[in-house]
Each structure stands twice: as C-alpha cells, then as structure tokens.
C-alpha cells in the first residue's frame, strides 16, 4: 500500500528537494571553492564547478600550521567530552525520571536556568577554576568544562527518554530482584539508544565547533583544536579563501563521516519494540 498518493508525493518531494538544496548549498559551495585555484575564487560570474580543479589547497593546508595535530586533538577532546557528558547525563537523567528524590525539582530548575547564561559571561571565572585545578594545557581542560557546560542538554533529552519508558518494565525488573544500578545498566539503558545517540552527536558537534574555550585554556600550539586552527586561516590578515575552504572541509569531514556511520542508531526503532503491546 502506498502511503502517499501521486499528487501528495510529488508535492512533498518538491518541498523536500528545495529544502535539501538549501541545506546543501553552502556546503557544496565550500567544497567547490576548496578545489579552486587562486584566481578563480572571485571570478565573475561565479564558477559553481571549478573550471580547473586542483588539490593544491588541501596539500598546502594539511602541511601548514599543525593542522594534523589539531585534528587529532579535536577528535580526542570531542570523543572524551561526549563519553563523559553522555554517561554522566544518563545517570542524572535516570535519577530525575525514575526517583522522586528530595531536591529534584530544585536541581532541575537550577540546571535549566543556568543553561541559558551565555558562555562569555562565565568564561573568566571558569578559567580561574580550571587553572586552579591544573587543567591548562591538558586535554581534560577541554573535556571537563565542555561536558559540564553542555550537560543539561543531554540530561534533558535523556530524562525525557527514561521517563517515557513504561512502568511495567520497572515493576517486572523489581520482581526479578533487580537493584537500581542493574536496572539502569541492563534494563533501561539499552532502551534509550536513540536518545543517547542524539545527545552524543549534539555534544560532539558542539565540542568540535567550539573555538573560544580551547583557545583560552590551551597555551601550547600543539594542544589547540581544529576550530582554533581554522582561525589562523580565517583571521583578517590571512584569509585566503581557497585555503579557508579546504581547512573547513577538513574540519567538517570527520563529523560528517561519524554521523553517516552512526545514523542508523539515531533512527533506531528498538524503542518501539519495547513499548508495543
């Protein structure tokens, strides 16, 4: 049975295609620029497909300004942040959803409201705290604060997810003599894979994008991340566009690949299997 009739399908496809084009346009444009030679970037009319594509830009930036190092640092920092953030958020999300513990409402309210304080407002005291803990020039200097600052996002997503699980599940587990830690790890956690993946990719992207904090907390060039490294190419005196485009593509590629590899987890319907019936 076709869910959508021909007319509806055509209309919907037209809308989606337009949306996809809009979503892709800047990305494709960057991609195209990254293959352009030095004189083609400002060609009038603009070239959509480079007339004489070249890999020179990639060769240049890949060997420039420690891009490879930044890249590895970004991977480590983002992966570490995601692991810490999601695991800690899952614990709290579980607690908020499944235990009526005292102070819960206050905790939730405090969390949600501090989340809106713009980062620049807390950056200075945050740096002082991190410095006192010996976190400058250390990977944890990115991981701990970034995981904390984006904590509530994941907590909120996961709390919703845990709260949505049926009570019967808990009852059944209890009858089996299941203690809360086991119930969390073995019964409930496997059922919230999709929200876990959602939080993970969001936090990964945010950490990967962050350019202000890694610059502030890291002193040594060798410890900068790719988003900081990008700035070297983008700032006023050096903005050679074909180079920027190439670094930008390099900086985006891993996140895109990770997303494509993991996307089946975001859209998994394992949850519906558990709740059905």
């Amino acid at each position: 049975m076709k869910v959508f009739g021909l007319g509806t399908r055509t209309a919907v496809l037209a809308v989606l295609t337009a949306g996809a084009a809009l979503a892709l346009a800047p990305v494709l444009w960057l991609l195209s620029t990254s293959f352009k030679g030095r004189g083609d970037v400002f060609a009038v009319p603009p070239e959509l497909v480079p007339a004489s594509p070249t890999l020179d830009n990639y060769a240049y930036v890949w060997n420039q300004a420690d891009v490879q190092r930044y890249f590895v640092n970004s991977l480590l920092a983002s992966a570490g942040t995601v692991l810490l953030n999601v695991s800690v958020a899952a614990l709290l999300g579980f607690a908020l959803a499944r235990f009526a513990f005292r102070g819960r409402k206050l905790l939730f309210l405090l969390g949600i409201s501090t989340m809106v304080v713009p980062f620049p407002a807390i950056m200075l005291p945050l740096f002082v705290a991190a410095k006192e803990m010996g976190l400058t020039d250390h990977l944890l200097g990115i991981v701990l604060p970034t995981a904390a600052v984006n904590m509530w996002l994941s907590v909120y997503i996961l709390r919703e997810a845990f709260a949505g699980l049926p009570d019967e599940l808990e009852e059944a587990a209890r009858i089996d003599g299941c203690a809360p830690p086991r119930m969390f790890l073995q019964v409930m956690l496997p059922l919230v894979k999709a929200p876990l993946a959602t939080s993970a990719i969001l936090v990964f992207t945010l950490t990967w994008s962050d350019f202000l904090w890694p610059l502030v907390i890291m002193q040594d060039h060798g410890n900068f991340t790719i988003s900081v490294g990008l700035q070297y190419f983008m700032s006023t005196l050096t903005s050679n566009w074909h180079h920027i485009a190439a670094v930008a593509v390099i900086a985006s590629l891993p996140v895109v690949v990770i997303f494509l590899l993991l996307q089946r987890y975001f859209f998994t319907d394992v949850l519906s299997g558990a709740t059905k019936g």
């Binding site: 713009p118 200075l124 600052v149 509530w152 996002l153 929200p195 959602t198 990719i201 350019f211 059905k276």
Partner: protein, 307 residues
C-alpha cells in the same frame, strides 16, 4: 510547581523497589545524580555564582574589584543598547523557536511514513548540524554579502532589481542571522521528532488509514499528540540555544548595523572582553538569567495546567 513538566509523565505510586534496597528514593536518586552535580557544580554553578558576585562590583578583569552595590543594575536601566539587545534576543528567540519547533514536524512525518529517498533527505537535512558553526557562518557570509552568490543569482534571474543587503540592512540583518540559525539547527529537531515517531505504534497509523483519515487529520490527531513530549523538548532546546546564540552574530554581522542584530549574549561578550566591563556584563547576565527563569517558571506552570 507540582504537577508540572518537572516530574515528566510518571511519578506518583510509591516505589517499593528503591525503598526495599535500603537507600530509599532520595538516597538512590542522589547517588545517581552525584557525578553530574559535581561537574555542573564545579564548571557551571561556580562560575555562574561568581558572575552574580561580579554584578555587584566594578570588576574590570585586570585589577581587584570594588563592591558597588546595585550601581551596575542602575546603569543597565538607562542603557538603550542593552534594551535593544533584549528586544533583539526576544525577537530572534521567538521566531527561531517557533520555526524550529514547527517546520521539522511535517518533514519528520513524511520521512517516517516512507516518502521516497527518505534516507537521503534525512542525511542531507542533518548535514548543516555537523558542519562547524564557524565554518557554515563564514560560508553564509560569503554567499550573502553584496557581491555574493545569492545576490548574483537574485539579480541575474531578475528576482530582485538590485542586490539585497542581507547583512547591512538594519531591518533585514536580524532576520538573516535568525535564518542562518534555523538553517543550521533544523536537523536537530528533525532528529528529535523522528526519534519520537519511532516509539509510535504502527497500528495507530494503520487504524487511522482504515478509518479513511487523510494525512492532515492523521498528522493533527495522532502524530502531533504523540509527539507532545518531543515538542516540549524541542521548544526548550530551541529556546535555550537561541537565547545563547553568539557565533553566528560574531561572524555574520558583528551585531550591526547600528546594533540592529546585536543580542544580549553578544553584548555581554563585547562589554566583558572588548570594554573590560566585567561587572556590567555580569549584571546583564544576571538580568537575562532572571528573565529566563521567570519565563521557564511561567512556562512550566502553563504546561502543568494544560495537562
């Protein structure tokens, strides 16, 4: 507060499980909460409390601060730029939140119901989320400026008579940055809705189909109610993200022209790190925090009442 979204969908019956294990609900709850509380306490709450303290001082980031009482707040009351940024924050947040909560809903429905090429659309619509913000913002800046590709297309196809000043028209700049946020974040909300739809039993949709309900009715009477939790979640995330938004403005307009696209988050950054007015910027942050806290409480009360 009780009966609000805070307690989500479940709570009431006593939980013998936890009690039986000796620790009690509060004990277990706090045990699970400890790691998060420590992290948030050290890296968010502590700086926020410092910010609150700063707001009563003339701290300049360089030398020891003096206590000045409510002076900074008094100054805020008379700062027209601050008022402008609050208005802009409100406008950006309102429009971005509404668009981000509503637009992905039908798209999620189409994809869930198996429109052709759904995997392709799903991936492509999510793509802007994973491109680093600073990269996509710069790309948009190049595309949108007076000599950029967008204007080239508009003018050569005759859609507009001259280039559109996306970034330098004060009436337009704020909506341009809002548009770029919506462009970037759309995929997040699509993802949330798709995850929500994945928990919807298929038989409901089948039953609706047998009843002869059209897409519009199915969407309105089954899908949207089912996604209520996801919609609340989306609203909260979109609201918070839009309030905090900084990177796009930093890259695209620098808050201009004539403060037309400057939001409070940007003004806080500017006051602190360009003007060395940490006391003042902290007071702004506190006012923003108080306003949002008020809105959240109000929202929770309304959400609680409607349940």
């Amino acid at each position: 507060m009780s009966g609000s979204a805070v307690r989500a969908r479940r709570v009431s019956p006593p939980r013998p499980l936890a009690k039986a294990r000796g620790l009690g609900e509060s004990g277990w709850g706090w045990l699970f909460a400890v790691p998060a509380v420590m992290l948030i306490g050290g890296f968010v709450l502590y700086p926020v409390l410092n910010t609150v303290l700063f707001s009563f001082t003339d701290f300049n980031g360089l030398t020891a601060a003096n206590f000045v009482g409510l002076e900074q707040y008094g100054r805020l009351a008379g700062d027209s730029v601050f008022h402008r940024t609050l208005l802009n924050s409100g406008l950006i947040t309102a429009v971005a939140t509404v668009l981000l909560v509503c637009l992905p809903l039908p798209v999620a429905y189409w994809i869930h119901r198996g429109i052709p090429f759904r995997r392709f659309f799903r991936a492509v619509l999510y793509l802007p989320v994973v491109v680093p913000i600073i990269v996509s913002s710069v790309a948009w800046k190049w595309l949108l400026d007076e000599g950029g590709l967008v204007n080239y297309v508009l003018v050569t196809t005759g859609l507009t008579s001259g280039p559109v000043s996306w970034l330098s028209d004060p009436a337009l700049a704020i909506w341009t940055v809002t548009g770029v946020i919506v462009w970037r974040a759309f995929g997040i909300y699509l993802l949330i809705y798709l995850a929500g739809l994945a928990t919807m039993p298929d038989d409901q949709l089948e039953a609706a189909a047998i009843d002869g309900a059209g897409h519009v009715r199915t969407f309105g009477s089954i899908v949207v109610p089912h996604l209520r939790g996801s919609i609340v979640l989306s609203s909260v995330i979109a609201f918070v993200a839009a309030m905090r938004m900084f990177d796009e403005i930093y890259v695209l307009t620098g808050g201009g022209p004539a403060n037309a696209s400057k939001n409070t988050a940007y003004y806080i950054w500017e006051s602190a790190f360009s003007y060395f007015k940490f006391g003042y910027s902290s007071a702004m942050a506190v006012v923003l925090l108080a306003l949002v806290l008020g809105l959240v409480l109000l929202g929770l009360r309304l959400a609680g009442r409607s349940r």
